[in-house]
């Protein structure tokens, strides 16, 4: 099994996690910029965080043979603090970096006017920098939040095929499927989504435009739940090629739209020797 975890906060994880992930088949990760549990109070804190996402963390991942990419944005939660608004002026410079493969996480937390503004401006940055967008959906009032998210995406003019709407569940998947956006699912120990439920969603909605991630961070989470989902798919009768598609080729296709996904040396071949090894370049 080869895995690209399309959403995992490695900054919050230990070297033990990197070792276990590499041993289980995780060859590449995408780490979205998000909040750190403790709210930040100034743009400098974000600059140091973004620097680590394009500096130290990729170096750390490489020690374990794992390729690390990042997405950069002012997250919705902290977009509400006026002291953090100037972060929006820092973001564009980071969007030019080689290992930055999307704008994210953007979207809604509490659906405030401030979040509206940050979301809209950063979708425009994605278009301007020819990058995909990773859109977080709120944990509270999720169904309403997803509907409003899709409205904003539509009005922005960005190609829906370059947007993933994340943290979906049984209630919210259909609307995103219909929109043409990619569907992201965060597999968690107790909450958002579980491997058996994920398998049922794949049965019902198919494998197209589906991204499965662990979203592991500083909370109760597990970086191997991508692997567990692959195992649950096999147990339910999906083929090894199906698993490769969901856990490797789909995220490679989505983030490959940036033209910056560099999987040289880690891609190898899929179970049917038709794995797409997207090398650096493209656009």
């Amino acid at each position: 099994m080869r895995i690209l975890d399309p959403h995992i906060h490695m900054t919050s994880r230990t070297t033990d996690d990197y070792e276990r992930m590499a041993a289980a088949g995780v060859r590449a990760v995408v780490e979205p910029a998000f909040w750190l549990g403790q709210p930040r109070t100034n743009p400098g804190s974000f600059a140091d965080y973004f620097d680590s996402l394009v500096g130290w963390e990729p170096f750390r991942a490489a020690q374990f043979g794992i390729r690390h990419h990042a997405t950069i944005a002012l997250n919705p939660k902290e977009a509400n603090d006026p002291r953090c608004r100037p972060v929006l002026d820092l973001v564009p410079r980071y969007l030019d970096k080689d290992s930055v493969v999307a704008v994210g996480e953007i979207g809604y937390d509490s659906m405030t006017p401030e979040e509206d503004d940050a979301f809209t401006r950063q979708l425009a940055l994605a278009v301007e920098h020819e990058l995909p967008a990773l859109v977080h959906t709120p944990h509270r009032d999720k169904a309403h939040g997803v509907k409003r998210t899709l409205d904003v995406v539509r009005e922005s003019g960005i190609d829906p095929g370059r947007v993933v709407v994340d943290h979906l569940n049984e209630v919210t998947v259909a609307a995103v499927h219909e929109s043409g956006c990619w569907m992201g699912f965060s597999i968690y120990p107790d909450t958002k989504m579980s491997p058996p439920r994920m398998v049922e969603i794949l049965r019902e909605h198919g494998l197209d435009r589906v991204l499965v991630n662990s979203a592991a961070d500083w909370g109760k989470s597990d970086p191997l739940l991508t692997v567990r989902t692959g195992e649950a798919m096999l147990a339910a009768g999906f083929s090894e090629d199906d698993v490769d598609r969901v856990l490797w080729r789909n995220p490679v296709e989505f983030y490959g739209q940036s033209g910056r996904l560099d999987l040289s040396d880690v891609a190898g071949t899929g179970p049917l020797f038709e794995g797409s090894s997207i090398l650096r370049g493209g656009s």
Binding site: R93, D98, G259
Partner: protein
């Protein structure tokens, strides 16, 4: 390097409008087969009077690849001591690529105390000492004493110093 239209254009613009180097320096890895060489060309194209400013800016705001390119280019650039603070920053990191690049020929501008500690850090992080410019000329008694102390710690823990460090402890007969 093969003829690269993108690079030729970016080099030309860096000479006439230095601020354009911000974006070209960041994206050189996607346009050139050898990003370090390409970034060196971009830096060499900057007007000399603004070079220190942009070196500092590109390093401070650079990803690991950009920082590495700045450090690697330093010996080839027409500058004085202005970029020494960048070496101090690189030596503080634990990114072995940056540490090694900070100890190239430009490191002759580092004071001896900082240089010794940087060499010791190389040994500590298993960076080959062949990366350190002017090693044999510059190694002194104090560095030897620091390495001997590290060897004592290592041996107490049942570990050894790498051969390239041990060599510095054994004067040629």
């Amino acid at each position: 390097m093969e003829q690269n239209v993108w690079l030729t254009d970016a080099v030309g613009r860096a000479g006439t409008d230095p601020s354009t180097i911000v974006r070209s320096f960041a994206s050189a890895g996607r346009h050139c087969d050898d990003p370090v060489a390409a970034r060196t060309k971009l830096l060499l194209a900057l007007p000399a009077e603004v070079l220190p400013h942009w070196l500092d800016d590109l390093y401070r705001h650079g990803d690991a690849g950009e920082k590495l390119a700045v450090l690697t280019a330093l010996p080839e650039l027409p500058i004085g001591d202005e970029a020494v603070p960048l070496l101090h920053d690189a030596i503080r990191t634990n990114d072995t690529r940056l540490l090694a690049a900070a100890l190239g020929p430009y490191a002759r501008r580092l004071d001896q105390h900082a240089w010794r500690h940087a060499v010791l850090k190389c040994v500590f992080l298993a960076v080959p000492l062949s990366e350190v410019a002017d090693l044999d000329d510059r190694a002194d008694r104090e560095l030897t004493e620091m390495l001997a102390a590290l060897r004592a710690e290592r041996e107490a823990a049942g570990r050894r110093l790498p051969p390239d460090a041990l060599r510095l402890l054994d004067p040629i007969p």
